[in-house]
């Protein structure tokens, strides 16, 4: 467990991200885990011909989950996420690779907390899911 993470933390520090390229299997498993039958997530003719999307739509909250992975993996047990905000601004489609990432916005050494900016970007580099998180570090 990394309990000294906040000591050297400063605004602008970056959070390592991950690349995600979900296929239909993962997208199906995610919908199944939620019991979400929305056809835009598994029915290509419906998604494209009825709803007018260019492909199968990645689930919005799955993208949100990947924001939390960015935070929790970066924390590596050094604290807890106490607040999360995000919005799905633009859809992503199966076949695309999206990437997570973030940076430190502010650090409060008195309370042992930090505010983070986090994001999911599409292949074009557009931020499609912007968010913020607050983390509270474990007391040393």
């Amino acid at each position: 467990m990394n309990t000294s993470k906040i000591t050297d933390l400063k605004p602008g520090d970056t959070l390592p991200g991950r690349a995600y390229a979900p296929d239909n299997v993962q997208n199906f498993m995610y919908s199944a885990a939620l019991w979400n039958a929305h056809r835009i997530h598994f029915d290509m003719p419906y998604a494209t011909e009825v709803e007018g999307y260019p492909g199968i739509v990645m689930s919005g909250p799955m993208l949100g989950d990947w924001l939390t992975q960015c935070v929790i993996e970066w924390l590596d047990g050094a604290g807890q996420m106490t607040q999360l905000e995000y919005s799905n601004r633009k859809a992503a489609y199966i076949g695309e690779t999206v990437t997570s990432g973030g940076r430190v916005l502010s650090v409060d050494h008195d309370t042992g907390s930090a505010r983070l900016e986090i994001f999911i970007k599409n292949e074009a580099g557009d931020v499609i899911v912007p968010g913020t998180a607050v983390v509270a570090f474990n007391k040393a």
């Binding site: 995600y20 949100g64 989950d65 807890q80 106490t82 999360l84 905000e85």
Partner: protein, 171 residues
Amino acid sequence: MSTAQQQLTLSEPDRKNAGSTDGLLSDDLLACIGRTSAPRTEIASRREIRKYSIATGWKKKEYLDGDEAPPLFHLALFWDMVELDKLTPDGVSIDELLPKFPLEKAMAGGLSIDYFRPIMAEDVLVATRTLTNIYEKSGSQGPIIFYEVIMRVETAAGELVLTEKTTRLLR
């Protein structure tokens, strides 16, 4: 008053937004603000946590083993579960907390969550949802209706786990 209870009170900017700019929101519709769902109880089973953690690609062992739930697991645990004839043709369940809106094309919205304690395997959790705001704004492609729902999740013993505000857009 707890933090979560305070969040159920509309903020001043929200109150200013809670009105119709183009007349789409009737008084009857706005009167639905404050509606609360019946409490729903679910068990955060190890299996459900594992399914969620695997499907989302987590690497953290505690999540993959189902000992502890990832931060957004409650979305899966409390996703609406209805019988087949209650699904619309597009596979979506009708949210009975919501009134019928004059705009129906749902756009993804946003979430704002305050966490108070993690969800652990076999926790018995109770969720209550409240429709806290409905308002309308002008968008570049026409009016947009926004609504906000706050979900409060507690343990069966009444310990607050999280509060979540969902904002959805309708075009």
